[in-house]
């Protein structure tokens, strides 16, 4: 029961934990704490989503010689909150002959999967919602559910463009899942564990895994970034939405908050992919060269967020620079290049570990 204990000044979480256990019986205290954790994660989810939307718009503006949002609040900071308010207040319209049950279900598939995936990341030493020994396996399992939401959304919308978008999503996400999986497997091979907190601990002594694993780790990182971008359906792999071809693809028929769910989930998925990359390759919350190792009051979660933001910036850079791939080129890239390269890379990693070439 040591979750919720962020290593921040005054140990606020520890105080809350002790206080809750002192005023009520153990069972009730546990349940209260779970609810509190759920609220914290929901808040994190919403704030991260809103902030990333703003960041994307600012980055896009920077790339495109624009100012970006700068009217609502200081530097436009409240812009996405205003947008969210607008989306909440909008009418939920739909067309006539949708499959009502599936149509309404689809956004929840998408949003719940991203929400669940966020629970397992070690944001700092003690801030981890769900530290299980099959953390990576859990991430795999969860992240592959999201595609169902998109497929269901496209199918139930009764719109041919949406259907094309959904079909594209199916083949894209399922294909790239392999590459994401294999590149993660390469790193699992290096660390010998599936537990995310343990993977971080290994990097505390031996240095970040991207350095420990030499060339195969760097290749794995590059493949992970490409496949991860594809899995989040972002440019240059945003065939699912493809606004110039399909209008907006699978979520054309969604309005208001249901649309916002898809939208938010895309940004959270970006956060998740960046988080996996940070945990697997860049030492999660560990400071570079251990510069803040001895400082007890320093919130380590800052290092985690800085690394995540750098990788998210990279993904945004892709988005605002590259044109979109065509669907057959997308599959060619995965099945003819990334997948074989990945398998060879896995073999090289095995050899590196066998010969004990790791740092």
């Amino acid at each position: 029961m040591n979750f919720l204990m962020m290593n921040i000044p005054l140990n606020i979480t520890k105080t809350i934990h002790d206080w809750i256990f002192s005023i009520m019986p153990e069972m009730a205290a546990n349940i209260t704490e779970w609810v509190l954790i759920a609220i914290v994660y929901l808040a994190l989810f919403a704030v991260a989503g809103l902030y990333l939307v703003l960041l994307e718009r600012k980055v896009a503006a920077w790339f495109q010689l624009r100012l970006g949002p700068n009217r609502v609040g200081p530097w436009g900071l409240f812009q996405t909150m205003a947008d969210a308010l607008k989306l909440v207040s909008k009418e939920l319209t739909s067309n006539d002959r949708i499959d009502k049950f599936l149509y309404n279900l689809a956004p929840y598939f998408v949003i719940v999967t991203s929400l669940m995936a966020m629970a397992v990341f070690p944001y700092s030493k003690q801030f981890q919602g769900f530290d299980i020994n099959i953390g990576i396996f859990f991430l795999f399992a969860i992240s592959s559910i999201g595609v169902i939401g998109i497929l269901v959304a496209g199918w139930s919308s009764n719109n041919k463009f949406s259907l094309i978008g959904a079909m594209r999503s199916g083949l894209q996400t399922i294909s790239y899942e392999l590459s994401v999986g294999l590149s993660i497997l390469t790193m699992v091979l290096l660390t010998g564990t599936l537990q995310l907190s343990e993977i971080v601990e290994i990097q505390r002594t031996g240095g970040w895994l991207i350095l420990q694993g030499h060339i195969p780790a760097i290749i794995a990182f590059m493949i992970f970034m490409i496949a991860g971008t594809a899995e989040t359906n972002r440019a240059p792999f945003d065939l699912v939405e493809a606004e110039s071809e399909l209008g907006a693809g699978f979520h054309t028929e969604y309005s208001g908050m249901k649309f916002a769910y898809f939208f938010l989930a895309e940004f959270i998925n970006m956060f998740i992919i960046a988080s996996i990359a940070v945990v697997l390759f860049f030492g999660a919350w560990l400071s570079p060269f251990g510069i803040t190792e001895g400082i007890t009051w320093f919130p380590e979660v800052i290092w985690f967020l800085i690394k995540v933001l750098i990788i998210i910036f990279l993904m945004m850079w892709f988005r605002w620079t590259f044109p979109r791939l065509r669907v057959d080129q997308l599959l060619t890239l995965e099945w003819k290049y990334l997948l074989p390269l990945n398998l060879v890379n896995l073999l090289i990693m095995a050899i590196v570990i066998w010969l004990n070439w790791t740092i």
Binding site: I164, R168, P236, S244, E245, P323, R324
Partner: protein, 373 residues
Amino acid sequence: MTNQEVKNKIKTEEYFVNMGPQHPAAHGVLRLLLTIDGEIIKNVEPDLGYIHRSIEKMCERDSYQQIVHLTDRMDYLSSHINNEAVCLTVEKALELEVSDRVKVIRTIISELTRLASHQLWWGVMGMDLGALTTYFYAFRDREMINDIFEETCGARLTMNYNVPGGLMFDIHPNFVKRTKEFIKHFKTKLPEYDRLLTGNVIFEKRTKGVGILTKEDAISYGVSGPVARGSGFASDVRKHHPYSAYDRVDFKEILFTEGDTYSRYKVRIAEMWESMSIIEQLIDNIPEGNIKETTKAVIKLPKGEFYQRVETARGELGVYINSTGTKNPYRVKFRSPGFSNLSVLNHITKGVKIADLVATMASFDFVIPDIDR
């Protein structure tokens, strides 16, 4: 089972999709009736008429000075060149020779119009392929040209600078200076366009070998402009039937032979360099002379048929005027470049994917009001 047996066993169903009239890749209100099998396009049927304003009919009602102002509403990205076409036709009919000054100024502004149009096309082409940033880069540079236009004649898009017999008024004192500034600026920015898009692997993959139009087809369908020149069909009106001051400048006719989307792209990029070179040759010594020849207040064309063609940013624009000697024409017909170019779309996009259709359409640079007059 052999491959063929498998293929025979799996049955797919064709379906119709309306691409447009409101679609981000249609660049206006163009409706394409697509017959699709999965993602493969079986048939493309353009359905026109959503923005028809019967401009040719209105021309029969109007005087010759008024006709000019209708034409810039057709191809609004080549508005100056469209106006010039009508003015040249009327001048041809009247056997009116405009001064050298008018010819040179018309040529310079035509080339600026072409540059602005190609800039917008470049931005939109990137946007259609999913690279939104190009749009903003293009608008940054196009803004400078629009400012020059605004200073010259008060309008930024639908220019009304040409009148039969010359120009409405003289150029602004700043015109030469600002045009030179623009050329200097754009010479540093055009390589940036190349760095962002041309050399990109994804862009090359998306455009090379896509939507191939052979030279024979280009000729038989009456395709013109950069689309025709991308297929190796030398059809530049400026070169083969020079008008205004094009006979006194030195420029290359850009020809690429592959006929695919990429070569059409390269043609327009190279044309931007040529346009800049044409402007540079003329801008320093604009001759002195009359800005407008005196014409009667009500122009009456002699009896007969008159035809003049010009090269707009999209291709050959022909103006046909049938006059019975009255103050307005008996019949006016525009041979617009977009219409002939659109006719070839179905032929070259059979069997390609939806994404390829979008890329091909982008490389054709359609302006729908030009097609649908």
